[in-house]
């Protein structure tokens, strides 16, 4: 029978009652951004030549040596209740910071060694459930 132990080493400090309560993001710097629908951004890795050919290299960067693409600018209000997401120069989404009814555990699966880590507990998400608005 397939059976896998879940490693909980990483999250023990999160459950310390003296740990300062965090909102968005978690103490480990993770957060969930939820959008109704989908984001139209490339999700396949591109070569430098392909990036140059697309003539959109201003949006590309690297993070720890891996290609990443910049897709927007997020603004969170001072009271940590509202959020605005700007996508490109033409679209803006209004959203909220929502406390989750049931906290979500972030599981990391490694298919090579079969290890499963519970690596974070997320209690809030930045939620955009309205249609995009134009930027005037």
């Amino acid at each position: 029978m397939p059976s896998t132990t879940i490693s909980t080493e990483q999250i023990t400090q999160l459950l310390d009652p003296e740990q300062k309560k965090v909102t968005v993001p978690t103490a480990f710097g993770n957060m969930i951004l939820e959008i109704q629908g989908d984001l139209d951004i490339p999700d396949i890795d591109l070569t430098q030549e392909q990036i140059s050919a697309l003539n959109i290299d201003a949006q590309f960067n690297t993070y720890k040596g891996k290609n990443v693409i910049r897709f927007g600018l997020l603004n969170i209000s001072e009271d940590k209740k509202n959020a605005t997401l700007y996508i490109g120069k033409k679209q803006r989404l209004l959203g909220i910071i929502e406390e989750l009814e049931t906290p979500l555990g972030l599981l990391k699966f490694n298919s090579q060694d079969g290890q499963v880590d519970l690596c974070d507990i997320i209690r809030y998400k930045v939620l955009f459930k309205e249609r995009p608005l134009p930027i005037m």
Binding site: N30, I44, N67, N75, I76, G105, Q112
Partner: protein, 380 residues
């Protein structure tokens, strides 16, 4: 606070994937306890068809994929390798971003965790009937309890409770279930032996109980091994001092009385009915001398019906249909009117939506009040 948002481009051949799982109150409780948080594990019967469950030391949750129409991006705070100069016209009057967030996984579902009852997987467990040469089929040989636990979508605590309740034992290191007949014999022998030694039924030790059982045995083959006696103590009692080096069991006399009652039903009223008074005498005569217990027909509810007034006959519940209509039809064929309390054990397993039992019954039958009790009759 302004933040630059990035998304990682998909890496081919990546071995890492991320999923979100609901951590309900029970799971949070398990995680907060340093002794239990290391025991969480995913289990499934096979890699493809069966459900996945999440088990702690003593609880089991069914893991179900809950799809939604939104896209969730899981992001991590970081700093991109090359600082980017953002065109002020792209800031829309906001202050320049103070940090970067990089999306490393996208998902359109979460794993829901639903409280469920873990089940032992007993397909590979042979039945032992007290025979001298115990040789189970090849595919059932060599299994130990730890293997059984690994093969079962079940937590350890639930597995042990079910194992004890089913009469799980070991014969020469091999796990097995004791047959109903052999359990009856082993229980009777154990009770006779400990009562003969004037041992207290609420303070039984395994060693002395086994010695009492062994005292009366001939030098030949003795099927009542220490494991069998332990199985009897576990099935009909509970350990009262688990931490002690030599644990003590307290026997549950009413569970023992019920067991004797069900065996008496099978023996005396299996094919024809008997008057209740006569059956009670037969039931009482089954116990070892001086066994202290009260007996009452209410203990046997769900195992008999009354074909005529004040007469009873045994009925095996597991032969009933799983279709509620058919089941009610069969029950009213056996007995035209039932006391609500008598019919309840026969139909409670069908009430999967956990309605109030009389509301559930009223979907398939009529209910009328007679004095303090409810009488259930057929709709037809």
């Amino acid at each position: 606070m302004s933040i630059n948002l990035y998304s990682k481009l998909k890496q081919e051949n990546s071995n890492i994937s991320y999923k979100l799982i609901e951590l309900n109150d029970d799971l949070m409780h398990v995680l907060k306890d340093k002794d239990t948080c290391r025991g969480l594990r995913f289990k499934s019967l096979d890699n493809e068809k069966s459900h996945v469950v999440l088990c702690s030391e003593d609880k089991t949750w069914l893991v179900r994929q809950k799809d939604h129409s939104n896209m969730s991006m899981i992001m991590h705070e970081g700093v991109v390798d090359n600082s980017m100069v953002i065109d002020p016209s792209s800031l829309f009057g906001l202050p320049p971003p103070i940090t970067d967030y990089i999306g490393f996984a996208r998902t359109t579902y979460e794993y829901e965790t639903i409280d469920t009852e873990g089940r032992l997987h007993l397909d590979f467990v042979p039945i032992y009937d007290g025979e001298k040469d115990f040789s189970p089929p090849k595919h059932q040989q060599g299994l130990i309890f730890e293997d059984l636990l690994k093969k079962s979508p079940c937590s350890k605590g639930e597995a042990l409770a079910q194992w004890h309740s089913l009469g799980g034992s070991t014969i020469e290191g091999q796990v097995c279930l004791l047959s109903s007949q052999f359990i009856s014999k082993a229980l009777h022998v154990t009770l006779m032996s400990v009562l003969a030694e004037s041992m207290k039924l609420n303070e039984l030790k395994l060693k002395s109980s086994y010695e009492a059982v062994n005292k009366d045995m001939d030098s030949g083959f003795n099927p009542y091994t220490v494991e069998v006696v332990e199985t009897v103590l576990n099935k009909f009692g509970r350990q009262t001092d688990i931490t002690s080096q030599e644990p003590t069991w307290e026997l549950n006399n009413s569970a023992i009385a019920k067991w004797y009652g069900i065996q008496s039903l099978k023996k005396y009223v299996n094919k024809s009915a008997l008057p209740i008074d006569e059956f009670m005498l037969q039931w009482r005569s089954q116990f070892p001398p001086f066994f202290p217990c009260d007996i009452d027909m209410t203990m046997l509810r769900g195992h008999y019906y009354q074909p005529q007034e004040k007469q009873i006959q045994y009925f095996a519940r597991n032969t009933l249909s799983m279709d509620p209509k058919d089941r009610f039809k069969t029950l009213f064929k056996l007995q035209s009117s039932w006391d609500l309390r008598d019919i309840e054990p026969f139909i409670e397993e069908l009430n999967v939506k956990h309605l109030k039992i009389d509301s559930f019954i009223m979907k398939y039958a009529r209910r009328r009040r007679v004095g303090k009790h409810y009488i259930i009759t057929s709709r037809a």
